[in-house]
């Protein structure tokens, strides 16, 4: 008990130094947790952006469709597949699409696009393009050949709502056709690449123009939870190819893994810096108290008790600082989770990565616990070196030190 008392009072002997250590622990925890929350938030936004705009949780295609996006590879046994999908309870909704590669052209220029022939009402249940319109409406107003395009493409081709755009593509017989569409809506998603290269038209219009009536290239499925994707995939028995979002866009999974690695590297750097700070401060504290430690050794305090006393001092400092750091982190992560961090200055770069210009921090509760434990562990570990130095003191020499 006396060790606790001495260690506790020792940390208040040099208040400024102790406060500096505590502030560094607070900042260490906060910066670690906040960067982690920012990275996770960013990644989640990127993922949900992709899932919400196009990807969904699962997609089904003809086994050869993705080789070269050839329009002849339409879904096999569509009706049977639909019946099967209707029975799987983990599926929240699904939608069917025609996917044709083509070219959008106006007098201002032309650009390669992927034309998605969709069922607007069904599509709304899967993707959120209808909620991301910056002008116009979502394929219900115009009767003939309406089209919804991305803002970026609209800017490039000088299009506005009600403007005409010509789509060039091949029909089922490989005849190139050029058809005029009228812009009904302009959307802006998190991804400038998607906005530039994807347009939405009504299924019936595209099917009729391409001669692919009754056929589809793609079924996009939304599950009740993203984690159910694998389980749903296992339940679908078909000759078509069923892929989860991770398989369709493996770069998303890699990005997530890379970001996770970066988080730990970054956290490692912060913790190493923190450890050096603690080692430095505790070494100073020990060198200043050389004569006192020499006296303690002389009068019969065992090395293990001296070791324990020095480690305890660090533990006390960290135990005071940790809750402050965690609370500060919790508050700031929660705040920026609601209001977001405005990164308008780097919006272009973020949008090209499929992330909006505002980042919403997000951190699972267990991460607070893990980071706190890691900080405590590093703090105690970094107290060991100074404590060992103290044990190496020669009591006869230390007791005479000034």
């Amino acid at each position: 008990m006396i060790l606790f008392k001495i260690a506790w009072r020792n940390i208040w002997r040099n208040k400024l130094r102790s406060i500096v250590v505590m502030v560094s622990v607070v900042l260490g925890i906060w910066s670690g947790l906040f960067i982690m929350a920012m990275t996770l938030g960013l990644n989640e936004q990127r993922m949900s952006g992709a899932v919400d705009t196009y990807l969904s949780h699962l997609q089904i295609h003809h086994p050869r469709f993705e080789d070269d996006y050839n329009k002849k590879y339409t879904i096999l046994n569509r009706k049977t597949l639909e019946q099967q999908l209707d029975t799987i309870k983990q599926i929240k909704a699904y939608t069917e699409r025609l996917v044709i590669n083509g070219m959008a052209a106006t007098s201002k220029g032309n650009y390669g696009v992927q034309i998605l022939g969709i069922f607007p009402e069904q599509e709304k249940k899967i993707t959120k393009i209808s909620e991301k319109l910056v002008s116009g409406t979502y394929l219900y107003k115009l009767k003939r050949n309406p089209i919804v395009i991305g803002e970026k493409l609209a800017d490039k081709l000088g299009l506005k709502v009600n403007s005409k755009v010509v789509l060039n593509f091949q029909d089922a017989e490989n005849n190139t056709i050029a058809v005029s569409f009228r812009v009904e809506g302009i959307f802006k998603s998190n991804s400038s690449v998607f906005d530039m290269g994807t347009v939405f038209v009504k299924y019936q219009d595209l099917a009729q123009l391409t001669g692919l009536e009754g056929k589809i290239h793609e079924i996009a499925i939304l599950c009740n939870k993203i984690d159910s994707a694998d389980s749903v995939k296992d339940k679908v028995y078909t000759d078509n190819k069923v892929e989860t979002w991770g398989q369709i866009a493996p770069e998303m999974g890699y990005a997530q893994q890379t970001m996770s690695s970066f988080i730990y590297i970054f956290m490692g750097i912060i913790l190493i810096a923190l450890a050096f700070g603690i080692v430095n401060t505790m070494l100073m504290a020990i060198l200043e108290r050389k004569h006192e430690l020499g006296m303690l050794m002389s009068v019969g305090m065992t090395k293990s008790k001296i070791f324990g006393m020095i480690v305890l001092e660090t533990v006390f400092l960290v135990l005071i600082a940790t809750p402050v750091g965690v609370l500060l982190s919790y508050w700031s992560i929660h705040y920026f989770g609601v209001y977001g961090i405005d990164l308008a200055s780097v919006a272009k770069g973020l949008e090209s990565l499929g992330i909006g210009s505002r980042i919403y921090t997000n951190l699972p509760k267990d991460m607070y616990f893990i980071i706190t434990l890691m900080t405590l562990f590093v703090a105690v570990l970094s107290a060991i070196f100074p404590a060992r130095r103290a044990l190496k003191l020669n009591p006869a020499e230390a007791v005479k030190a000034n």
Partner: protein, 229 residues
């Protein structure tokens, strides 16, 4: 009864390097229980080194130290620490109290290390601080006391473990005349009334004048050993 015996103690620094220093050179001495002994000599004569060797804070290059019947050189490090805790009291030149503990806690600290029950501890702390005339200063921390008062607390602390003897290394070096006299009075009383053995290293004439035995060192050797009373 012999409390301390040293037999042919040598302490050689830089041994075999051509610039050897014989800090203690073949010192053999015996100190009986209840002695009030001063080890004197000029700076560098080996007083502190000899005291450190007797107290087990330093090891001799050769020779034996016997504390009562224990040969301290054969003790392992932790055994030596424990031996010091139970057998030797230390008073240092610069008091070396624990600054974050008050007088009462500083004195009781040694007994806590000895796992003495609280009741006995409290009684002994009170009686020791009373013996050194600090019964009214028990709650004060070192920085609230004068140098003389701090050194008296250090004496009380040294006695707290009921040691076989007290080693005091230049205990009056940082004290003024009045504090030195007070401290010497206290230690002499404890010696006379309770038979506590004190061994000082000093070159303070005021201490030498009160010693009952004076051992004079020069270049690490005993050149004179005289009993005054």
């Amino acid at each position: 009864m012999k409390v301390i015996q040293t037999k042919n103690i040598f302490k050689i620094y830089n041994e075999g390097k051509g610039n050897e220093v014989h800090a203690v050179n073949n010192v053999s001495l015996e100190i009986e229980k209840g002695e009030f002994t001063a080890i004197v000599g000029p700076s560098g004569s080996g007083k502190t080194t000899l005291l450190n060797i007797i107290g087990g804070l330093d090891t001799p290059t050769s020779g034996n130290v016997l504390i009562e019947n224990t040969e301290t050189a054969s003790l392992k490090e932790n055994e030596m620490i424990n031996f010091r805790l139970h057998n030797i009291g230390f008073v240092f030149q610069s008091y070396n109290l624990i600054p974050v503990l008050n007088a009462k806690e500083n004195v009781g600290f040694i007994m806590l290390l000895q796992n003495i029950p609280e009741k006995e501890r409290t009684e002994r702390v009170t009686s020791l601080l009373k013996a050194v005339g600090l019964e009214n200063q028990m709650e004060k921390r070192p920085n609230q006391m004068s140098g003389g008062q701090q050194q008296r607390v250090a004496v009380a602390r040294a006695l707290a473990s009921k040691p076989k003897f007290v080693l005091a290394d230049e205990p009056t070096a940082n004290l003024d005349s009045k504090s030195t006299t007070d401290l010497l009075d206290i230690m002499e009383n404890l010696n006379n009334e309770e038979g506590i053995t004190f061994v000082f290293s000093t070159h303070d004439q005021r201490v030498i004048d009160r010693a009952h035995r004076i051992i004079t060192l020069e270049d690490g050797k005993i050149i004179k050993d005289e009993k005054i009373k």
